[in-house]
Symmetry: C2
């Protein structure tokens, strides 16, 4: 039996629903023993914790998410973990899995919803980013909803994050002219140089409507929206005829108690545009396909990604607060443990 | 030569852009001689003038419409007219045509964009309503954009108007369960008794969200939006999964200088809904098909309509102002002249 099994399990807990943007004080921390294995379960050690904006919505304890949190509960969240003990027929010690361990070092699982990760395709942390739910979001939203045609102009916001960078690179592979929207010169440079976007607009420079008009002189044929708010509005004022808008994330609104209004919809009518709501869970059956397609691009060097990794579970609250302020650069992760530890 | 040709031509003119809701004082009136015919033209006498909410937008003199108005210009508008003199090879005296004569008794035309009307299908006034642009709007938006399936719940606002009543009756013929939204008990009774809707909700009674929930217990699968604003918002809070929203008219906004915000778009994402902008001119090629389909239903008694007819051109401004306040009941028309007069 691995020695870690008798150790201590550090956890980050939910303390209270944030007011507006979250602060580290909205979280607590505690330690427990490592939970005991029962038949049909496996025990895993968390390697990476994924930080995702939707956690802010979960912390509202509204009814749209299955997870309901009581103060003191471990924060929910996706992780990549290593199986260190198992009484489950399908999982053996050493397997690396994508599992919802939450914000803690160790957790049990009955295997439901757990996905084994093939470390030969890419570093295992990508199972939380471009080869996980965020990547699938960008892939499915682009391929099945935004449907850019060759030569069309495809715009994506939060374009250096895992969803946006996947969406943009998939659109580029589909032959579209990709224009990103991001929040710093550094991010924009990365989008053009590393992700192969045609252009990238820094919304912090102001006049987003004018900047988009300059970058998209023939209008925007498809827009993958990760932020909502004024960015979405600026896009609606630059639409090409027959354009598609994929509504995916509204990060600004997650930290609001009352949802904000949307943009004036007149331009949607004028452009005969289509807005479509995207929820990634509808496209789970595409995960193997997406892994195959993007895995090939990773292998031939035509698909890139960036990670913003905080070291140590105790850094998770602060890292999450940075994410919600747009201060991360790349997929926000917390490295909780090192692979092969405990063996 | 018909005697009317040497008479007087009464006209209603554009005087100024309204502030907010239009008032009769935004219009002028004058008289001129009847214009002289040239080769390749025909002269027609207006029978019916169509009143349509989009005129309010034209009166803003924004750039989205081709018609630009200068004070003193004849108000633009669709009409049904009778050809009373012709030097055009395709039009002969006695033909009844749909033509953009504007708000006046007589006008010349070179035949461009003019459509001959077959009086055997229905009264010629319907060429401005259910068998004209409004009908085509309701037909195309329902058949090609909203696409209700048998048994699905289809909701339509402004449901006793020519667009809404066509949309709802087309959806009923497609097997959908149709729920109307209108602004009086009288209109709601008409929608259920005459148009064959399953139910109709009176938004003036308040709590539209709750009323729609009661009338659409399984959610709204398709919504044909003719009004925007708080009605659209109430619908978004009652969407079924995979629902479609057709954005067609935003009558409230036409009388505003600054466009209002749209609804919070979170429910669109949650319901994986699709919003589509509809502009009827994209579907002009469907006009013969629509006339055939609806003409058959008119013939077998399974399609009805209602007209709200003001008598006399001088009534047009007041009738238009009533329309913009939702005080009309049925397609708003002005009877300008009687058929066969002048012959």
């Amino acid at each position: 039996m691995p020695r870690a099994v008798n150790g201590i399990n550090k956890r980050i807990t939910f303390l209270r629903s944030p007011r507006g943007l979250p602060v580290p004080e909205d979280f607590g921390a505690d330690e427990t023993g490592i939970p005991k294995l029962a038949a049909g379960q496996f025990l895993s050690r968390t390697l990476y914790l994924s930080l995702d904006p939707y956690y802010r919505n979960v912390m509202k304890n509204s009814q749209i998410y299955a997870d309901r949190l009581t103060p003191g509960d471990v924060m929910v969240g996706e992780t990549v973990a290593e199986v260190i003990d198992s009484q489950h027929p399908d999982f053996k010690v050493g397997d690396v899995v994508a599992v919802r361990n939450g914000w803690q070092e160790y957790a049990l699982s009955n295997g439901q919803g757990v996905r084994k990760i093939d470390p030969s395709i890419a570093p295992v942390s990508t199972a939380l980013g471009v080869l996980g739910m965020p990547g699938l979001t960008g892939y499915a939203g682009t391929v099945f909803l935004a449907q850019p045609l060759p030569g069309q102009t495809f715009v994506v916001s939060a374009c250096t994050g895992p969803v946006g960078s996947t969406a943009g690179q998939v659109a580029r592979h589909m032959g579209a002219r990709v224009v990103g929207i991001a929040g710093s010169k550094e991010k924009c440079d990365y989008a053009v140089r590393e992700l192969g976007f045609e252009a990238c607009v820094d919304y912090r420079e102001g006049d987003l409507v004018g900047q988009l008009k300059a970058a998209c002189p023939n209008g925007i044929d498809a827009y993958f929206d990760n932020v909502g708010g004024s960015t979405l509005e600026a896009v609606t004022l630059n639409l090409a005829m027959g354009s598609r808008i994929v509504l995916c994330g509204m990060i600004e609104a997650y930290s609001m108690d009352t949802p904000p209004p949307g943009p004036w919809l007149g331009p949607i009518v004028g452009a005969r545009a289509t807005m479509k709501g995207l929820v990634v869970y509808d496209h789970m059956n595409r995960l193997p396909e997406m892994t195959r397609v993007i895995g090939r691009w990773i292998h031939d060097g035509s698909f890139r990604w960036k990670e913003d990794i905080a070291k140590g579970l105790e850094q998770a609250p602060a890292a999450f607060c940075r994410l919600m302020r747009g201060q991360n650069f790349g997929k926000a992760l917390v490295e909780v443990g090192s692979t092969k530890l405990g063996r």
